[in-house]
């Protein structure tokens, strides 16, 4: 700030005298000229203004206040003498960056020493990052084995804790941690040839966040409930929960490819209107990383198709590729292939929030637990139903489903299509005409007829109190209601397989 003074420049003694008069005798005794008056609490802000007014009067000048850290007797002398305002503490000595006063502070000294040797620092940082990453990769198998087993729930789900907080994006890695990877390889090891052995009763259950059992324990999820029902007929049944959030067929095909060489005899696909929607698939593929970062799985799966059936797969594949480029998919895959951190970051977060600092993460866990008690379908205003207009149906997605069922059929794997709830049973009447077949159901019935698979229509099976925090998630009771018909369909498909 500038000042103007027509008189001879005052000395520090002159200024001190004016200050003493304004503040009272003795207030400035022993105060050095360079001591910051405001910062040290020697004067208050209002006293500063009084001083400025007195100085202006005494030396016939106009003074603007300097920054708080720069109010000293020396700086006031300069200002009263018509010189430019001195810079604040942060701005002095900047001509030479190496001598900046901030660098003398304890928190900065080490950083500055490192910054002066940037190449060495970078080399050291990279080295230690590699070491830490390697240690991080070893920890879940060694010192943190127990916590890791707890984190992945013994491999019962691909997407542990079902709340969205603990997800990594790599399907192959998720499958490698899943119980299906430990399943005894007694049959259907598909050397591209059906190889079911009688007696094997394994089901791969694909789906979305509702199928995962979001906000529920792994044993309360729909696949676990279906397994419970199947075990009433035979203890040997095993149902693998291979669900991952997003109502996307391409995502399920990626997961199917990731478990392609794992043994199972029945595949259950969760489907609903959004699975066939052009708009929905574009939106999800564009927005969610896990729907694109697994692009190689999708490409691999498309290659398994006979050439005449590939065009619909290519159409969706192009969409995924575009989104993958936008989301730096290649870089993410490189990270996943060469470093432990991308895979173990959710585990680290779980370790912090779920073990070591659990009390501090209370609000987050309370939020997760609270979702269990929510009943969104009973609230007002009502949530919109997840329905699509017929014009939004993407024929490519319909064809993909048919091709996949036929491919599995050729491998000896039976398919069950589970048409998921669209909303509370009480709101069925909102669909016009009443009781009309819905799009997903129609498409699945067509697919079922053409491709010899069983369709379980549960579109309006769940009443309003059995939805959780969204119309996509169900309570334990909801899952108990949905499970028996699916189990019956699996049993039926199994019998057909035996025939």
């Amino acid at each position: 700030m500038s000042t103007t003074s027509p008189l001879a420049p005052p000395t520090a003694q002159d200024v001190r005298r004016v200050l003493e008069q304004a503040l009272g005798e003795g207030r400035l005794t022993g105060v050095a000229d360079a001591k910051p008056l405001l910062r040290a609490g020697i004067i208050t802000s209002i006293e500063l203004v009084t001083i400025l007014l007195d100085l202006e009067k005494a030396f016939a000048c106009t003074i603007s206040p300097p920054d708080s850290s720069a109010v000293t007797i020396a700086s006031l002398t300069q200002l009263a003498g018509g010189q430019a305002a001195p810079a604040s503490a942060g701005q002095v000595a900047t001509a030479n960056s190496a001598n900046h006063p901030v660098l003398a502070a304890p928190g900065y000294r080490l950083f500055h020493a490192l910054a002066c040797r940037p190449f060495l620092t970078i080399a050291l940082a990279v080295f230690w990052l590699f070491v830490l990453d390697a240690l991080l990769g070893l920890a879940p198998q060694t010192v943190l084995r127990q916590q890791y087993a707890d984190f992945i729930e013994g491999g019962k789900r691909l997407y542990p804790r079902g709340s969205g907080e603990f997800s990594q994006d790599d399907f192959r890695f998720a499958v490698s941690q899943h119980e299906i990877s430990r399943a005894p390889d007694t049959g259907n090891k598909p050397g591209n040839k059906p190889g079911n052995k009688p007696g094997n009763k394994r089901v791969a259950f694909f789906g979305d966040s509702g199928t995962i059992g979001s906000y529920l324990e792994a044993d309360q999820a729909l696949p676990a409930r279906v397994e419970q029902n199947l075990k009433n007929s035979d203890e040997k049944w095993k149902v693998y929960n291979l669900a991952w959030f997003a109502r996307l067929m391409s995502k399920d095909l990626m997961l199917l490819d990731a478990v392609w060489d794992k043994p199972f005899e029945v595949a259950v696909f969760t489907v609903g209107d959004p699975y066939f929607s052009t708009r929905n698939s574009r939106l999800w593929i564009r927005d969610f990383r896990h729907t694109t970062v697994n692009l190689p799985l999708y490409t691999e799966f498309a290659q398994r198709m006979p050439a005449p059936e590939r065009p619909p797969f290519d159409e969706i594949g192009t969409l995924i590729q575009q989104s993958d480029r936008r989301q730096w998919g290649a870089l993410r895959r490189f990270q996943a292939a060469h470093f432990s951190l991308p895979h173990n970051q959710p585990f680290l977060f779980f370790l912090t929030s779920g073990y070591y600092l659990k009390p501090w993460f209370g609000p987050m866990w309370q939020d997760i637990y609270r979702a269990r008690s929510e009943r969104i379908a009973l609230t007002d205003p009502q949530q919109p139903l997840d329905l699509i207009p017929r014009s939004d149906v993407n024929p490519a997605l319909v064809k993909m489903l048919g091709s996949t069922i036929r491919l599995l059929h050729r491998r000896g794997v039976k398919t069950v299509l589970f048409v998921q709830p669209a909303g509370p049973r009480e709101r069925q009447t909102e669909i016009s005409p009443v009781n009309a077949l819905t799009i997903a159901n129609e498409l699945c019935r067509e697919n079922g007829r053409e491709n010899d698979c069983t369709v379980v229509n549960q579109r309006w099976s769940v009443p309003a109190p059995e939805f959780l925090d969204t119309l996509k998630h169900y309570t334990v009771e909801g899952n108990q209601r949905l499970a028996p018909p699916i189990a019956a369909a699996i049993l039926q498909s199994g019998q057909e397989g035996q025939r």
Binding site: S45, P65, L103, G107, A115
Partner: protein, 378 residues
């Protein structure tokens, strides 16, 4: 005249505008500000022009920030004005950094009358500090000279490393404190009171780590581009008085408030027959109200500002009346300083209730938390 500084200034503007959510709004605000600042050279009655210019600028800022009270009040206006305000309130016109632009333009209007278009362009678009400070005084920006040398790079790297570590710590702390995320803030009402006190204090630490971390990065970036940006924080949790706290917290904003609000008002008051005591009680409250309003014109922010203003006024009175009665030895005693520190930071922590999180919880929820902390509610 060398072309290089001009090119660098243009690069600053391109950098800033490319990050603006609404390019049209950012450019229009700049053009409006330029007209006000450059128009001052032509204004015959400088003081009246200055007042009108600051009022107009404030009105436009409130408009562009879709200030609720203005939108509600304005929507009742008849004719074109009311219809325009209704349209503005429904449009998506928010863009980054307007609040800081406002501070710079007021600085520019008040501090000098001899602005040239290139000079103001350079000051306005100074990229490293454009979006969230530190608030530069005009001289600082105009003195800047881009240079790349090893020492400047080392300085910038030092600040960046410090900044990144602070931001990382803030990210870790964010999930633990009650006032960083809206969901957590609502649940914090159920916390036991002692834990809530710790949580609210930790929320202030979180904000400090986050904001000072970004400031470190901006200051490093500015230094690399030859701009000597002022420090924004100086260990505010080391302050043992509320006045000390404000001399160490968001320093550049504090300096702006002192230069643009506090000093002119106190000069005016002291020039009249108003006593120094009244001025020292009234002015901190007014200044801090302006500070709250600058963040947003909502009941919560205004209350936050007023709360701090009252604290500053109380401290000024304490300094004026109680200090002379206490011996220097007592004031320097560990117990006195500890009590002073605890009182200061408890007061600051209480005020955070009205400040954080910026969105997500209502005024009533904040009051409930406040009542619980001060013991009026269980």
């Amino acid at each position: 005249m060398s072309v290089l500084p001009l090119v660098i200034d243009l690069l600053h503007a391109v950098m800033v505008l490319s990050l603006s959510a609404r390019l049209d709004v950012a450019i229009l605000f700049f053009l409006f500000s330029s007209a006000l600042v450059l128009g001052r050279r032509l204004a015959p009655v400088s003081r009246l022009y200055l007042t009108l210019a600051i009022c107009a600028l404030t009105f436009v800022l409130l408009l562009l920030r879709q200030t609720p009270f203005l939108m509600q009040w304005g929507s009742t206006w008849p004719g074109f004005a009311g219809a325009s305000l209704r349209r503005i309130s429904q449009a998506s016109i928010r863009t980054l950094g307007l609040s800081y632009c406002y501070l710079r333009v007021v600085y520019a209007l008040v501090s000098r009358t001899d602005w040239t278009a290139p000079g103001f362009f350079r000051y306005y678009f100074c990229a490293p500090t454009f979006f969230s400070g530190p608030v530069l005084a005009p001289e600082t920006a105009l003195r800047s000279q881009t240079r790349f040398d090893k020492a400047a790079l080392a300085f910038a790297l030092t600040r960046w490393m410090n900044g990144v570590i602070r931001i990382a710590a803030a990210l870790i702390l964010m999930r633990m404190v009650p006032l960083a995320l809206p969901g957590a803030a609502l649940q914090a009402a159920a916390w036991p009171t002692p834990l809530l006190w710790i949580g609210v204090f930790a929320s202030g630490v979180w904000l400090y780590l986050n904001f000072s971390g970004y400031s470190e990065i901006y200051i490093g970036f500015a230094h690399l581009l030859g701009v000597q940006a002022p420090e924004n924080f100086d260990n505010p949790f080391g302050a043992s008085t509320i006045t000390g706290f404000w001399q160490r917290w968001h320093i550049s904003l504090g300096n702006w408030l002192r230069a643009m609000v506090y000093t002119p008002l106190s000069r005016g008051l002291l020039a009249t027959s108003t006593s120094r005591l009244i001025a020292s009680l009234l002015l901190p409250a007014v200044t801090m109200l302006v500070c709250g309003a600058w963040h947003a014109v909502t009941a919560s922010f205004l209350l936050w500002g007023l709360f701090h203003g009252v604290g500053l006024a109380l401290h000024a009175s304490w300094t004026q009346f109680a200090h002379p009665l206490l011996s220097k030895t007592l004031r320097g005693h560990f117990v006195y300083r500890s009590a002073s520190w605890t009182l200061t930071h408890a007061y600051v922590a209480l005020a955070w209730i009205f400040f954080l999180p910026v969105a997500g919880i209502g005024y009533a929820d904040r009051l409930r938390l406040f009542e619980k902390l001060v013991g009026f509610a269980q």
